[in-house]
């Protein structure tokens, strides 16, 4: 868990600062410094992780409140005596299960055992991890556990509505291969074994995570806004076949981001974020993130 207490600026501005550094390094004398850019990409990854944590925490809390109220009302109709108990259990289950450091598989397994206590998952402020965990469980073994059904209702159809790229990689690295002199920005990390057919091909494209990568649950961030990055040439380097299906989707967003950066950061300032009030950012990167279509879709899908 990243401790943000000591940092004076928030994740969004860190992201924009980091992107600016990477952008500037391309014009520095002496060529791109691999070491510095690698470190900047780590900061970018950390900042994005925190940003996603915060974002999902808010959204999930909003969603959860509504869900709990709905379910509690339903329960009340069924069995008034179980009301309090079930609601509490449900809330605890759904809200207390964020785990970022354990492997995805490890987190998923206990869920299937319908353990009421989520001891395998550390409670944290980021409640959003279970969004994916639970959705997978719904797909995998549709047992009528109360725990899952409430969450399943949260995503009735959204699994399959996810654009293929959504469930993919979570870590982003910008690297310059000085042998071939190509800059690439790639995400890799864990993939979800999602049941939806449309996502099967993405699962096969799973790359082994880099050695010291921690699970970044920010996979829902459509990598679209990260993938396009800021140079057109990076697109050419994507070798992963799983990206093939996402490219048409990405292209429009890539050109968006490129045109944004092409006109300087002032281009970002002029764009308006048309999302819910959670996205009240003024920072360039945040607006870039917010204004991209896929991001909007991901939010709406919830």
């Amino acid at each position: 868990m990243i401790n943000t207490m000591e940092c004076a600026v928030d994740a969004q501005s860190l992201i924009s600062i980091s992107l600016r550094k990477i952008h500037n390094s391309r014009t520095q004398r002496g060529g791109i410094k691999l070491h510095k850019n690698l470190l900047v990409s780590y900061v970018l990854r950390n900042a994005r992780q925190v940003y996603m944590n915060e974002k999902y925490a808010e959204i999930y809390r909003m969603q959860q409140y509504e869900e709990v109220m709905t379910v509690c009302n339903e329960i009340q109709e069924l069995n008034p005596l179980d009301l309090v108990e079930d609601c509490e259990e449900q809330t605890a289950d759904c809200c207390g299960s964020a785990n970022e450091s354990a492997s995805l598989c490890g987190a998923l397994l206990p869920v299937s055992h319908q353990a009421p206590s989520v001891q395998h998952l550390q409670p944290s402020s980021a409640c959003s991890v279970p969004l994916a965990l639970q959705s997978e469980e719904v797909c995998k073994a549709p047992e009528p556990s109360f725990y899952r059904s409430c969450c399943a209702e949260a995503y009735p159809v959204s699994n399959c509505d996810f654009s293929p790229v959504n469930s993919m990689h979570c870590n982003k690295t910008t690297v310059l291969d000085l042998d071939t002199h190509v800059v690439t920005t790639v995400e890799n990390g864990y993939l979800h074994q999602d049941c939806c057919a449309s996502l099967q091909q993405c699962c096969q494209g799973a790359q082994s995570p880099a050695k010291k990568r921690k699970l970044d649950f920010g996979y829902y961030v459509s990598e679209i806004e990260e993938v396009p990055d800021f140079t057109p040439c990076k697109r050419a380097k994507f070798e992963d076949s799983s990206y093939a299906s996402t490219e048409p989707l990405d292209t429009s967003n890539i050109s968006n981001l490129i045109s944004i950066f092409g006109s300087g950061f002032s281009g970002l300032v002029s764009r308006q974020a048309d999302l819910e009030q959670a996205l009240n950012g003024q920072f360039c990167s945040k607006q870039a993130l917010a204004s991209l279509g896929a991001w909007t879709r991901a939010i709406v899908a919830f």
Partner: protein, 509 residues
């Protein structure tokens, strides 16, 4: 012998003195032989007839008349980026001190019998180049200088920029042959009809001439930027390390090298760490250590296999996961690695600490020293200003009892290992007075406890001491502060070793 941490300024060498083509002047210096205290003066004393110096078109040599240091501040010119010192290195005896700068120049100082260091030789080592295939400019900045162990009267040193390593020979000539038959004294061909007798040329003494000539050029072996070179104890081979690979060279063979470490992943997208520094063990010719950006240091044994990707030892301290911040990876990246002179210990420097590792214990360092922990809350602004990427070097003293490293605001820190005492000293022009003993500084977070305390917010992060060197045998240190070179000497123990160090308070002014 006591270790007092009382250092006196021996010399400041400003940029234009280092590189100017000054004529020989009578040195204005006086040394008090009984106390070995030198009054500070600026002297210009370069040996004439430098062979390799090529004046750069934008450089205007200035000749300073000898002035007292109190007038220095008024005369100090604005410095050019090319004059910033990028590496400092003593040779094995400490008689010579070499500095390299961003402009590709190398300046070698020699220690005079009285104790001061004078410029001995200056030459242009590397020029800026352009890689046409990759459309990349290759900087001429000298990244590292390493002296070869002496084996004949000439001196050899390796210098490297981002891509090319060169072996230089620096030799003296103090005799000249006179009386040639076919040429006259100026070198012009004689009219053959005027030659009536034959003579044998005779060697006559001449003014000392120091020549530097490139003997080997080791090029085209690194796709990434070279960050370190290290001469093996066998005196025949050396290594050069870039971000992803380490190559082994023979000093006499320039057209091939062996790759001994390769961290480049199959897929560059999986890149997670780069090599930051590599060094050979001082006694065991088969051992080398290299540090990485992930905060680990590896010890490799070249006897095990040809490619040393598998480490023999991995020195890594477990990081508390609850203390992770945005900048954990940057702060843990190791910026310098130095073996102790004994070969028993490793010194590593990351952004906030300096650590001593015992080669026999991998899981944690034996000693950790906080260099400037007050910066931990300022990492955000340091990241914005790019200061967080500064690579500080570290150094052992001759007996491995004291370690030294640089910091910001022209401060440098020394840590006495046995007594655990430390001191912060400043290398700046303002405090250069006659016989001035460096006063310890203190950085405080919050309210000042003493008048001389310096608040964290008033630190100047543009003034950083990245490169320091310690004389291998004596208590003399060389500090590079931007474009100025400072040489300090311990007041009470200029020579000799520290056996039972004691800290004494500095005498009142």
């Amino acid at each position: 012998m006591t270790c007092t941490f009382e250092y006196q300024l021996l010399e400041i060498v400003p940029a234009d003195e280092r590189v100017s083509l000054a004529e020989i002047k009578t040195p204005v210096a006086c040394c008090n032989p009984s106390t070995h205290i030198l009054t500070l003066i600026i002297r210009l004393r370069l040996f004439a007839g430098l062979v390799e110096l090529q004046p750069r078109p934008w450089f205007c040599p200035r000749m300073l008349s000898p002035v007292l240091c109190s007038d220095l501040a008024a005369l100090e010119p604005e410095y050019t980026e090319a004059d910033v010192i990028s590496t400092v290195e003593f040779n094995q005896t400490g008689e010579f001190l070499a500095t390299g700068d961003k402009g590709g120049r190398v300046v070698i100082f020699q220690r005079e019998p009285q104790g001061e260091y004078n410029v001995y030789s200056t030459f242009q080592s590397h020029e800026p180049e352009f890689d046409y295939l990759k459309s990349l400019e290759i900087e001429e900045k000298i990244n590292k200088i390493r002296w070869l162990p002496p084996h004949n009267p000439a001196h050899f040193l390796l210098t490297t920029n981002d891509k090319t390593i060169k072996l230089w020979k620096v030799s003296e000539r103090d005799k000249r042959a006179e009386g040639y038959n076919l040429r006259d004294e100026e070198g012009r061909l004689k009219d053959l009809s005027t030659i009536t007798t034959l003579q044998v040329p005779v060697l006559r003494p001449m003014d000392l001439l120091v020549e530097a000539s490139p003997r080997r050029v080791f090029a085209n072996a690194h796709a990434y930027h070279i960050n370190s070179i290290s001469v093996n104890s066998d005196c025949e081979t050396y290594l050069s390390a870039d971000d992803l690979r380490i190559n082994l060279w023979h000093l006499n063979i320039t057209d091939r090298s062996f790759n001994i470490v390769d961290l480049k992943p199959e897929n560059m997208e999986d890149l997670s760490e780069v090599i930051t520094v590599a060094e050979f063990h001082p006694h065991h010719c088969h051992l080398l250590a290299f540090s990485s950006s992930t905060g680990t240091t590896r010890l490799c044994d070249m006897r095990a296999r040809a490619l040393c990707d598998q480490h023999a030892k991995l020195f890594e301290e477990a990081v508390d996961p609850s203390r992770r911040s945005f900048f954990s990876e940057i702060v843990s990246s190791v910026s310098d690695v130095k073996f102790s002179h004994s070969g028993r210990y490793l010194l590593t420097r990351d952004y906030l600490t300096v650590k001593v590792w015992d080669l026999n214990m991998e899981n944690k360092p034996v000693e950790t020293y906080q260099v400037h922990d007050y910066l931990r809350t300022k990492l955000c602004s340091l990241y914005e200003s790019d200061c967080i990427f500064d690579k500080f070097e570290c150094a052992w003293n001759g007996t491995d009892s004291v370690i030294m490293t640089g910091a910001y605001n022209n401060y440098f820190r020394m840590f006495d290992r046995a007594s655990r005492r430390d001191v912060t000293l400043e290398a700046s022009r303002e405090m250069c007075k006659r016989r001035a003993v460096l006063q310890p500084r203190r950085v405080c977070v919050g309210k000042k406890r003493k008048e001389t305390d310096v608040s964290v917010d008033s630190l100047d992060f543009r003034k950083k001491i990245l490169h320091t060197a310690w004389h291998p045998k004596e208590n003399i240190i060389a500090i590079a502060a931007s474009n100025n070179l400072y040489i300090f000497q311990d007041r009470l123990t200029p020579s000799g070793h520290h056996n039972t160090p004691e800290i004494q308070s500095a005498p009142p002014k």
